[in-house]
């Protein structure tokens, strides 16, 4: 747990990460799913694991997943349908230009929803990473949004035991992705109460959002369902450790999570190419604990008062006070 929130991690945290240059991976971590799960045991307080279709689960091993997790005392906090790990999705999944691929995408989501329901996993993360464009005059924008919305509506009705969450991201692996911001995701899901949103902190920062504002906005529309935690330099999804760059943004995010009474998962989505994954996960957790403690140090009421007065000089003083660095009281 992190401050009474269930604490999860994406399984690749404990594997060897590759990129387009170092195809065989940077080394470290486990190679099999069980080795990676074993490593996850070394992270104190880790409650759940997020798994990706094709990479971790498939038609052959899906029945054994629960036992693998239960043996290690972990819950399955999220199952991610594979709409992006194979060449067949290279031109898109739910918004692919050809109808058979769109149909295959819908079938994949439905299948994973059934798996999730059977495994007692509450969520399925629809991340449309391949749905977008690299070049001008490459995509039919109006059709694409229609296809995505219709596909999501069809999937949401498929299995009521699990909730679809849409994860937005501005770009990568496409040069530009269709579902790229909190506001656009809300627009996409207007009137669709059965579908929620997964807020990935790094995606929000990459898109130039203030992630605290994004969280509050999503909450206002009843769609702040799940969080991915990581950090970056503000221009790309570097998937770095929590708090590596955006300390103050994280502090404000945690205030708003408490303010809107977010009770959901805090799940790490980091790519420790060059770091030990276990140590990286521990450091992320430590920072999250510190942010929650820092908000408590100042107090929700006191922070609320500063915000009500909209005085930035008081805001910056409260950041120091929260981090235990103040010489004068906020």
């Amino acid at each position: 747990m992190i401050a009474n929130h269930p604490f999860g991690a994406c399984l690749p945290t404990f594997g060897s990460c590759a990129d387009r240059y170092c195809l065989s991976g940077y080394g470290g971590g486990g190679s099999t799913m069980e080795e990676m799960l074993d490593l996850s045991m070394q992270v104190p307080g880790l409650d759940g694991i997020e798994l990706v279709g094709n990479w971790h689960v498939n038609d052959d091993n899906i029945r054994t997943v629960n036992k693998m997790l239960a043996d290690r005392g972990k819950k399955l906090c999220m199952l991610v349908p594979d709409l992006w790990t194979q060449a067949k999705w290279g031109r898109g999944s739910l918004a692919a230009p050809d109808a058979p691929t769109r149909r295959a995408g819908i079938d994949e989501v439905k299948k994973v929803m059934d798996w999730a329901a059977e495994l007692g996993c509450p969520f399925v993360d629809v991340w449309l990473g391949q749905d977008g464009f690299d070049y001008s005059f490459q995509a039919d924008y109006t059709e694409a949004y229609k296809w995505i919305r219709e596909a999501l509506i069809e999937c949401a009705g498929h299995n009521k035991k699990t909730r679809i969450l849409v994860e937005y991201k501005p770009r990568e692996p496409r040069g530009r992705c269709f579902i790229d911001s909190a506001a656009k995701t809300l627009l996409l899901l207007q009137g669709l109460d059965d579908i929620g949103v997964l807020l990935d902190v790094g995606h929000s920062l990459q898109g130039g959002e203030n992630v605290a504002e994004a969280a509050a906005l999503l909450h206002s529309y009843g769609k702040l369902d799940y969080l991915h935690l990581n950090d970056n330099h503000g221009d790309w999804d570097d998937d770095m450790m929590v708090g590596a760059v955006h300390l103050v943004y994280y502090l404000e995010l945690v205030y708003w999570l408490k303010k809107v009474n977010y009770q959901g998962w805090l799940t790490l989505d980091v790519f420790p190419y060059r770091e030990d994954g276990v140590q990286a996960a521990i450091q992320c957790k430590e920072w999250m604990e510190v942010f929650f403690a820092a908000v408590d140090r100042v107090g929700m009421y006191a922070i609320g008062e500063v915000i009500r007065n909209a005085d930035a000089t008081k805001s910056t003083a409260l950041v120091r006070q929260a981090l235990g660095l103040s010489t004068i009281k906020a």
Binding site: R20, S24, Y26, D238
Partner: protein, 334 residues
Amino acid sequence: MDFKLSTNLAPFSRLSDRFVPGGYGEGHPFEKALELVSKIDGIDGVGLGWPSPLGDGAKLKSLLDSLGLQLGTLDTNIYTEARFKNGSFTNPDPAIRRAAIDRTKDTIDAALAAGAPDINLWPGHDGFDYSFQGHYANAWEWLLEGLAEVAEHDPAMPISIEYKCKEPRANTYISNMGKALWLVERINKPHVGITLDTGHALAALENPAECAALAMRAGKLQQVHLNDNYRDWDHDLFPGAVNVWELVEFFFWVRKLGYRGWYSLDIFPYREDGHKILQTAVLACRTCWNLAGELLERNIDQLLQSGDHLEAKQILWELIYDRKDTKALSLKDQ
């Protein structure tokens, strides 16, 4: 003036990213990929990495000769192996720094045997992701030392250092033209120059034309890589896909200042057919190259000197508007 265009083998290779490690397509074996490149109209050369599957510079040369391809450059591979993940020339481990130097010397030897005009050197892992991770002072010292050593190895082979602002590291040391120029000026050898990758310049929020002028003023523009992006990342799109005017302006300046080297396509067509995207890239490059030639003929330089850039823009739009058949034009040199 000669427009020498080459490409690397990426358009005919299996291309992966971190989400699709199995690759977006099948790709072709090395020799087949070379054969496919040799069939593209308008491409005369190929840039290859070292070590090569052929294992021998002379063998490489005879294979390329038989295909009618020139070797545009030989690229020292110090970035696809996990051992270089914490840096090549700036790795805190002296054994890895030594391995990078040795690899580069091997590349120089192979380049001499293969008849390459230069070697390309991109220290992609030399940088940092986190604050308090890099020892900046040591890193730049090691860069200078290591590069000075490889420059001594055989001055007959030019070394072209390629800069890039990020990826695979979140921050790269040699990240922009200013730093690259500072570095090669410090090394101060006539055969050590700079690779200007237009996409890297755009991702670093530079203007490739200005970068070229700076490097050429110092006599240090050794090699040019062509590609395009949205100025936020090295997307490696085909040249002119996004920043068309920047490409025309770039060609204007390198032609004006008399660059004589290769123009090498460095694109990553994950989702495109290799043959077709290279044809498209050739058409885009030749068209922009020819436009730049027409601007030179119209003496745009004088308008720039007098500060009348609007007059220059009017001429540019007229050239575009009057163009009846871009394809025909692109196929004849200006």
